[in-house]
């Protein structure tokens, strides 16, 4: 092997460390249980990851812009409950835009607080997590929300339908990933998101409206959450108030697993998708192995750290960290 191809290979490993980690453990799971790699199972995993995935797409923008969004879980519960409630009251055709409007309004509030008022995003979104949960409980009176006529509504298409044999949630996830991926990597807005996250002061000195950029990231995040809520509501046509609870950390884990830095300025949509799939496949693979849930916890821990470690070790070309 010539030095050149060798270094190119090295470059590939360095760039796609996470992808390789992904491939390795798919292999391991498949050997452990051949059913893992069946079309049915793959579809089922991607479909159930789609909800988490759609949210992770939005959060990727927020994280790259140098902020956090811990409110996505409770916001997703909110949009799910709202669209289910409105479905029976004003019909799905109006319920969907109404729910999107309400969710975007919440996103705008966060965007205003973090972007324009420059408040710390961790606390703001933690606060919103709690506040939106309260809002949802008030809205629903704490009760489960179910569509009355589950058979007769076309609303189920977003969660349960399929097109050309591919489940609609997967299509939505893929389409959104493509759209947001292009937005982030190819458009001026995407460039600004990286700049603001990489060095907000320098971005301001370059004439970028930092507040507006951050605000828009939260709007995108909220739009993704609304979409996730829509899929969720449509998938089960009924929901609990807590449907999204705890998802915020899973979403964040997926985004960071994909290689986005919490400091902002780095990450891509493609890698987030990989991060989402890794999480989804870990959960599914471990279930198929039939391990006790607590063993699953421990194994998940180890896999996550190994995956991220491999990724950064490949980037720096050294296994161990150079920190003294």
């Amino acid at each position: 092997m010539t030095a050149l191809t060798k270094s190119r290979l090295g470059g590939l490993v360095a760039k796609q460390g996470i992808l390789i980690a992904f491939a390795v453990f798919i292999l391991v799971f498949t050997i452990a249980n051949p059913k893992f790699l069946t079309i049915d199972n793959l579809f089922s995993v991607v479909r159930s990851s789609a909800i988490l995935g759609v949210m992770a797409l939005g959060v990727t923008f927020v994280v790259i812009s140098g902020n956090l969004d811990l409110s996505v879980g409770s916001m997703m519960s909110f949009s799910t409950i709202v669209v289910l409630d409105l479905h029976d009251k004003i019909g799905p055709l109006l319920a969907i835009p109404a729910m999107f409007a309400m969710t975007l309004a919440l996103g705008a509030i966060i965007g205003f607080l973090v972007g324009y008022l420059k408040l710390n995003s961790l606390i703001v979104t933690l606060g919103m997590l709690s506040a939106i949960h309260g809002l949802t409980l008030t809205y629903s009176g704490g009760k489960n929300m179910d569509i009355a006529d589950k058979e007769g509504t076309w609303f189920s298409v977003f969660g349960q339908g399929s097109l050309l044999g591919i489940p609609v949630p997967i299509l939505i996830f893929a389409a959104l990933a493509a759209l947001l991926g292009l937005t982030l990597s190819k458009t001026p807005f995407g460039r600004k998101v990286y700049a603001v996250g990489g060095n907000g002061t320098a971005a301001t000195f370059s004439g970028i409206r930092r507040a507006r950029t951050v605000f828009n990231c939260y709007l995108i995040s909220a739009a993704c959450v609304a979409t996730a809520g829509l899929i969720q509501a449509s998938r089960s046509l009924g929901s609990q108030n807590t449907v999204g609870q705890g998802l915020e950390l899973e979403v964040l884990a997926a985004v960071i697993l994909g290689g986005a830095s919490l400091m902002g300025g780095s990450g891509t949509i493609f890698k987030t998708v990989i991060g989402v799939l890794i999480l989804g496949f870990i959960q599914n693979g471990l279930l198929l192995l039939g391990l006790q849930f607590y063993v699953q916890f421990v194994v998940t821990w180890i896999i996550i750290i190994l995956a991220v470690w491999l990724d950064i070790a490949a980037k720096r070309g050294k296994l161990w960290s150079p920190i003294a």
């Binding site: 933690l126 919103m128 000195f205 998940t300």
Partner: protein
């Protein structure tokens, strides 16, 4: 006096202002809305407040130094639960049967050691792999919780030792045992962070990691020590709390990380590291506990409590920022 004390005091001023605001509000609102004939600012109630702040507060002190260091620890809730299990379980181990009540200090020691070890594991992984502390501890939040369930399945681990309970419920100079622990830990961390070389290095590392490395500070071991400290304090919090309650559910300590981080950030610590103080954190802890207590005092229901707590967190932040703006001359960035 350490450098910049005045500016620091001013910066953490918001939290104290807010505490006063809370006290005033709940006292007045309590007059109208509370069932109780007792005033909110009743002395006994304030003593209880301190005691009830201890479980979160003791961990928050550890989180302060870890966050000043530029890291974060999301696994404290799970560490808390493991330490509790070790404490309560080891009280009944046959090998200690001959010790009588002397088993208590032994179990305490075991639990605390467990905390130190779990914390050090986090620190070691952060140090050696270079993976971000957020991911490492997010992972171990899950992994440690798995370990919790391994002990006793889904069942609680219990051992009610009334000697222990009496000790934990005791009051010395009017303050509860838990309060004493909280105060001592607060003082200890304050001392560590303001007076010692280790503490000052923690600020340097959190502020500018590269500069610290260039200056020859051994960043890796330093961070590991801080993780061990927070592990120790999570275990200490468990020891103090479960000595009194005597039984731990495998789910206990869940969401503690969020409450702890909230308290720490409210107290003025920067999540990016480099700034923060134990005293500020103490304020943050008290503010949160006051809020919980006060809302209970005026009889708010669950959805209202959620709504109000959320809004108030944001309000404190806003207040804090208003206090810190330097005026019109500031650069608009």
């Amino acid at each position: 006096m350490q450098p910049g004390a005045l500016s620091k005091a001013l910066k953490s001023g918001a939290i104290w202002g807010f505490i006063v605001l809370e006290l005033v509000f709940f006292s007045i609102a309590g007059e109208f809305m509370s069932l109780s004939d007792k005033a909110f600012m009743d002395f006994e109630n304030m003593l209880l407040l301190l005691k009830q702040s201890a479980p979160i507060g003791i961990i928050a002190m550890g989180m302060t130094i870890v966050m000043v260091n530029g890291n974060i620890d999301l696994s404290v809730g799970a560490t808390f639960a493991i330490a509790a299990i070790v404490l309560l379980d080891s009280l009944t181990w046959p090998i200690f049967a001959g010790l009588g009540d002397w088993v208590i200090p032994v179990s305490w020691l075991l639990a605390l050691t467990t905390g130190v070890v779990l914390g050090a594991i986090n620190g070691l992984i952060v140090w050696k792999t270079g993976v971000d502390a957020f991911i490492v501890t997010l992972g171990s939040m899950l992994g440690y919780r798995g370990i919790v369930f391994m002990f006793n399945g889904e069942n609680p681990t219990s051992h009610l030792n009334w000697t222990l309970v009496d000790f934990a419920e005791a009051q010395f100079l009017g303050l509860h045992t838990a309060t004493w622990f909280l105060l001592v830990v607060t003082f200890g961390i304050w001392f560590l962070m303001t007076k010692t070389v280790h503490g000052r290095n923690a600020y340097a590392i959190g502020d500018n990691r590269e500069a610290a490395v260039n200056a020859g500070i051994r960043v890796g071991p330093h961070m590991m020590i801080n993780f061990a400290i927070i592990g120790f304090l999570a275990a200490l919090s468990a020891v103090v709390f479960y000595s009194e309650s005597g039984s731990v559910n495998p789910n206990d300590g869940q969401l503690y990380e969020l409450w702890v981080i909230t308290a720490v950030v409210l107290g003025g610590t920067k999540i990016t590291g480099g700034a923060g103080s134990a005293i500020g954190t103490f304020g943050g802890v008290i503010a949160i506990q006051l809020l919980r207590k006060g809302l209970g005092h005026i009889g708010a229901d669950t959805s209202t409590v959620n709504l109000v707590i959320g809004c108030i967190l944001i309000a404190v932040l806003f207040l804090d920022r208003q206090l810190n703006v330097k005026g019109k001359e500031e650069l608009k960035i």
